[in-house]
């Protein structure tokens, strides 16, 4: 997430102990459910449940099986510290975690190693993966589009990463007045769940702005749903209201 980053050693370079210590501390921070990334931890169960249900239905897997994703090749774009990549790997998927920030990738690698999970973490971008011709059964594009510079160009690259018969999940925040009130003023200013400036109103993305470039790139929308916070039960849940947080599911026809 920080702007100034040095790419940590490409292949078999000497390891800087101070750097490792710094990354370890950051990994602890990423993975502390009560810490700085608490909102993401809180958000995780609802999106995990959605992904589990949809992937299981699409690929004919048993939704209740703890290894339902065995054998599926899955890409987590903008994986951060690996909050989604690790559950996906536990479910049996062969996970590639991609993040433009090499710091995030180092942090994610350290944590996956301590969790005994084999995840292919790479400091790279969707565009670079597409250019290399990589394809996946499932592409997760969660809470990323609202942070990229050129949405249509980015989505075009993401679409290329989906195998025929594969799925892409996109989760983001709608550009509505309600979203401005809840996701920016509410979450950043009033509740301080997120640091000020995490989201910029102009960069929020309407469903139509996902639909058009992805359809043009050969994907088909399967479903969409809203996600909202239930303060009484202290958890996020699926709703039909897509005005603020929402998720869309696309597939590439075979």
């Amino acid at each position: 997430m920080s702007a100034a980053e040095t790419v940590a050693g490409g292949s078999g370079t000497t390891v800087d102990d101070a750097e490792v210590a710094r990354f370890s501390a950051m990994a602890a921070e990423w993975w502390n459910p009560a810490g700085k990334f608490r909102p993401l931890h809180k958000f995780n169960p609802v999106r995990l449940a959605y992904i589990k249900r949809q992937v299981s239905a699409h690929f004919g897997r048993d939704e209740k099986a703890p290894d339902a994703f065995a054998g599926l090749r899955l890409l987590d774009i903008g994986c951060g510290g690996g909050l989604l990549s690790e559950p996906m790997a536990r479910l049996g998927a062969h996970v590639t975690g991609a993040d433009a920030s090499s710091t995030n990738i180092e942090v994610a690698k350290i944590h996956a190693a301590s969790s005994d999970l084999a995840i292919d973490y790479r400091a790279t971008t969707a565009e670079a993966l597409a250019a290399a011709g990589e394809q996946f059964d499932v592409v997760l594009n969660m809470e990323v589009v609202e942070h990229v510079a050129d949405v249509p160009l980015y989505l075009e690259a993401c679409a290329q990463l989906v195998k025929p018969g594969g799925l892409m999940f996109v989760a983001t925040i709608n550009r509505t007045l309600k979203a401005y009130a809840l996701a920016i003023v509410g979450a950043e200013v009033v509740l301080r769940w997120l640091p000020r400036g995490t989201h910029t109103y102009e960069k929020l993305v309407r469903p139509q702005e996902l639909l058009e470039p992805l359809t043009a790139a050969g994907l088909r929308e399967m479903e969409r749903c809203g996600v909202s916070f239930d303060p009484l039960r202290d958890r996020w849940q699926e709703t039909s209201d897509t005005d603020v947080n929402y998720m869309m599911l696309f597939s590439r026809p075979t």
């Binding site: 169960p45 449940a49 589990k52 209740k64 703890p66 690790e86 301590s114 005994d116």
Partner: protein, 409 residues
């Protein structure tokens, strides 16, 4: 180089009915989970508990779902009826203020009296049959929680790793102390005397609770012409009675029990245990969850200790199995907090209710007696309220974990 022991998913400290039923519930819902139970007693001594417990309908539905109720049922006495009286010892006739018909559904009694030892033996067999590792006799001597697992040192010198450690080691939980989790404790100047008596005439499945000035005196039906007693006395009196000779004990017993079931004789050892209310300040911390009496030891007045423990088991098993289905780390604090949120309020409420009941009924002031008798009389005349109480006692009110309604997780 020592032998590399297999990493576990869940290690349960304590092989009583809470620990064993949790292991069975987890293993049955998710056979891929690696589960072990450690207990300081040898395997065959796990079933040596001579006491009996009232198992509420919700709990027996869970035991049925876990595949053990059919083996427990032959030794279980259904409670068909419950009466409540409010009396002084010298009262020749104890007016019955409250009677409950004990069915929650046609043919399903609200509770059964079950011998603890037999229940634990059946659960231990079932656990082994499902592939739960029973580590006995051994005990947890220390543990250290890390970012992805907890390293557990056993008294035997073995070291095991698990994703989650569960403390089901009773009201004086050593694991809770090792974790540094404090408790809130109210002491009563009362002890519970527990024993079994044989009587001449059949009890017809009737449970009796007599509110005597020193505290409640409960007669709970066992199979055959036998009953289990939970007899509350002031602490010193209880000690004296239990340690004294049989003759005095039987004499005092008869004064309280009455003669309606004919001649009485003692049919088991007698124990006295101090009564109190112990609530853990937290039910979870990273990689540790408390269940059963380790989380909450309540006054036995309403017979809810065991049933609260089974509720913990059902809720914790459901939370963990669902977390595994989503690929989550089952020892992570945010997962465990779902269990804590689910159980804490219910536990606290039950603790307060039993505390208030005890203070209200262990009292000989005329005003208090008059108020509670009017209250009991009112309850007796209101069928819907009685039904609510009976469903409460059966554990069927409030949002239930799936196992308690007899469903699979």
């Amino acid at each position: 180089m020592g032998i590399q022991m297999d990493e576990l998913d869940v290690l349960v400290g304590g092989g009583g009915y809470v620990g064993l039923s949790l292991a069975v519930a987890l293993k049955q819902a998710d056979p891929g989970l690696r589960v072990a139970v450690v207990d300081m007693r040898p395997r065959e001594a796990l079933s040596k508990d001579p006491r009996a417990s009232a198992v509420a309908a919700a709990a027996s539905r869970m035991l049925d779902r876990l595949g053990v109720w059919s083996k427990i049922a032959p030794h279980a006495q259904p409670m068909m009826e419950m009466i409540v009286t409010d009396s002084r010892l010298r009262d020749a006739v104890r007016p019955v203020f409250l009677t409950f018909d004990g069915e929650v559904e046609p043919g399903e009694p609200f509770a059964h009296m079950v011998p603890n030892g037999h229940m634990v033996a059946v659960l231990a067999d079932r656990a082994e049959e499902l592939g739960v590792e029973l580590i006995t006799p051994d005990a947890v001597s220390g543990f250290a929680s890390g970012p992805s697992d907890v390293e557990i040192r056993l008294a035997s010198g073995a070291v095991r790793k698990a994703k989650l450690l569960v403390a089901a080691d009773g009201v004086r939980s050593k694991l809770r102390d090792l974790a540094g989790i404090g408790t809130v404790r109210w002491e009563y100047d009362q002890s519970g005397i527990v024993t079994t008596v044989a009587h001449e005439r059949p009890h017809e499945g009737r449970a009796e609770e007599h509110f005597l000035p020193s505290g409640p005196f409960a007669i709970l039906p066992l199979t055959g012409n036998r009953s289990s007693l939970v007899w509350t006395e002031r602490r010193n009196d209880a000690e004296r009675l239990v340690k004294g000779d049989d003759f005095t004990f039987e004499l005092e017993l008869e004064r309280r029990f009455g003669h309606h079931l004919g001649k009485l004789s003692l049919d088991g050892p007698r124990y006295a245990f101090p009564l109190g209310l112990t609530l853990a300040r937290a039910f979870v911390q990273p990689r540790l969850a408390l269940a059963g009496d380790a989380a909450h030891g309540i006054h036995p007045i309403a017979g809810q200790g065991l049933n609260l423990g089974f509720k913990d088991v059902a809720a914790l098993a459901e939370v963990l199995v669902e977390a595994r289905r989503l690929g989550e780390d089952i020892g992570a604090l945010d997962v465990l907090e779902r269990y804590e949120r689910w159980r804490r309020f219910d536990t606290f409420r039950m603790g307060v209710v039993t505390d208030v009941l005890n203070r209200l009924f262990s009292n000989d002031m005329d005003v208090v007696r008059a108020v509670r008798d009017v209250g009991l009389g009112l309850v007796d005349r209101m069928p819907s309220l009685k039904r609510f109480f009976i469903r409460q006692a059966a554990g069927l009110e409030g949002p239930s974990p799936r196992l308690l309604t007899g469903e699979a997780i």
